[in-house]
């Protein structure tokens, strides 16, 4: 990555984070955000440090993780329309969460744990289904298996929601649409515990992804161990998505829109693309969350609704321009 681009991205992130921290039920001007961050004694310090900062950081990390997951999966299946949620992981996570919510259990810890367990189960099932003949992972089967597992868990989820009582139903729905309302330093720590390693591995896999994007045969002739690369990509993106869903629900379109836009601006070379996508996806989700908690104050919109409302028109526009 060139120095100029790095500085530009850092600048954008800093601005976005300050805006994200400042906005909300009580808005805080940028100068006070700074003093709140720097001095524990400043009046805004409690809100800034204990509520807004962990929330904004969590949104940034989840956004970045979803962004690089989308980028890597798109290289794996050689299709720019792949999305982390096509892996059936969101279905599995949703099913786990809804099951716990509907049975009246859960609480702050139960729901994310159940979601994570559901996601891992779906991950394992999809993986098993896509290993065909001679123990090779077939990316096309991977997508199909993901869609199938997602649809099946979606059906089970609907059945459970219909059968559960009204109050729990609303909770389950809200959770499924995603949001950072419950963010704290603790949720950030938990997310990072699951996501740091897979995100690091993915960020370092740029060269292998460039080869994989050429197709499996050319990649092997250039020296890639493609069976290992495919498995690493699937497992790391799966873990990142599962950790994301568990900590803030299902947030779509980040992994689809941002990689697409970044590729058009910076080209598809993964070694440079992955860090750029991480930062931009992080910013995108912080801004989406900021919009979610400010447009209809004091009500908070689910952030998944906002990413879709911004992401879909943006994506349609990009798609039309790239086809023109």
């Amino acid at each position: 990555m060139s120095g100029l681009r790095g500085v530009l991205l850092l600048g954008i992130s800093a601005v976005v984070l300050v805006v994200g921290i400042g906005a909300g039920a009580t808005s805080i001007p940028p100068a006070e955000v700074w003093s709140g961050l720097l001095h524990g004694s400043a009046p805004s310090s409690a809100i800034v440090r204990e509520l807004r900062l962990p929330r904004v950081l969590l949104a940034f990390m989840v956004g970045g993780s979803l962004g690089i997951s989308g980028t890597a999966l798109q290289a794996l299946v050689r299709n720019p329309l792949a999305d982390p949620y096509l892996l059936g992981i969101s279905g599995g996570a949703g099913l786990g969460a809804v099951l716990v919510i509907a049975s009246g259990g859960g609480g702050a810890w139960g729901v994310p744990l159940a979601a994570f367990a559901g996601a891992l189960l779906a991950l394992a099932l999809v993986y098993r289904l896509s290993i065909v003949g001679e123990r090779r992972l077939d990316p096309r089967v991977l997508l199909l298996a993901g869609v199938v597992v997602g649809a099946f868990s979606g059906a089970l989820m609907s059945a459970i929601i219909v059968l559960s009582d009204v109050a729990q139903l609303r909770n389950a729905f809200l959770w499924l649409l995603g949001g950072f309302g419950g963010a704290s330093w603790k949720t950030l720590d938990i997310f990072l515990a699951y996501a740091a390693l897979p995100a690091g591995i993915l960020l370092l896999s740029g060269r292998a992804l460039d080869l994989l994007a050429l197709g499996e045969e050319p990649a092997q002739y250039l020296g890639a161990n493609i069976e290992r690369t495919k498995r690493v990509v699937y497992l790391t993106t799966g873990l990142l998505t599962a950790a994301g869903v568990a900590s803030c629900g299902i947030i779509g379109f980040v992994g689809l829109v941002v990689p697409h836009a970044a590729r058009r601006l910076w080209g598809p070379l993964h070694r440079t693309l992955l860090p750029v996508v991480f930062v931009l996806s992080g910013c995108f989700l912080v801004l989406a969350d900021t919009v979610a908690r400010t447009v209809v104050r004091p009500v908070e919109l689910p952030v998944g609704v906002v990413t879709a409302l911004i992401g879909v028109p943006l994506f349609a526009l990009l798609l039309r321009r790239s086809l023109a």
Binding site: L214, Y221, L222, R271
Partner: protein, 262 residues
Amino acid sequence: MILEARDLTVRYGGSSRPAVDGVTLSTDGGRLVAIVGPNGSGKTTLLRAMLGLLPLSSGSANVQGRPVAQWPRAELAKVIGVVPQTEERVFPLRVRESVMLGRYARLGALGRESTVDRQAVDEAMTRSDVLQFADRRVDTLSGGEWQRVRVARALAQEPAALVLDEPTASLDVRHEMEVFELIRHLVTGGLAGLIVTHHLNLAARYADRMIMLEEGRVAADGTPTEVLRQDVVARVFGWPVAVTTWCDGSPQVVPLRPGEAR
């Protein structure tokens, strides 16, 4: 021998007839060997087996005397540069970036590019004459330019052998001549060459040795004059032909229209 197959047989699961049946061939530095034969005669399967992508049913495939299955892919990539039939261009890179992918197996820790890598890429692009469009996107290139970029990428691997699978498919006369000239030039410069092609006449003029496959078996093997015999070509391809001789001595095949005299 850099590349060698001996009695190589490949059988796809569930098929009664082997896709490649007891083929023996080899190539070494300075020699261009052309594999020809009708569609489905096993040419690409033979290449893939020799390059370690398909398991052998029997026989052997060696690279520098060592069974290809024992080579780690990254080590093999330093010895053999391959231009396969197809590759994806859904995420189109710039020409220089695309050629740099040839350095994958030789890059330093964490995939760092060194001056040596950049020099190797420049040299490969110069040898394939693609330096003038180094910064263009590969999806804006003509078919001939694109094939030369792919040859440049294989050269950036700094291999001892170059293997090409139908590198001139769907190219016009000028571009196919440019590709064959480039390959011949590189082989004469010391590389071992192995090429699969449907161009019997160009293979006859550029290759040192030809192997003609028929349903997975060797139908003819030898110099172009030994392989392109009128009766053999007509039988293997299932179409009447005449064979004439061009002024450089190479046999040239002319397919006949029904009713034409031989």
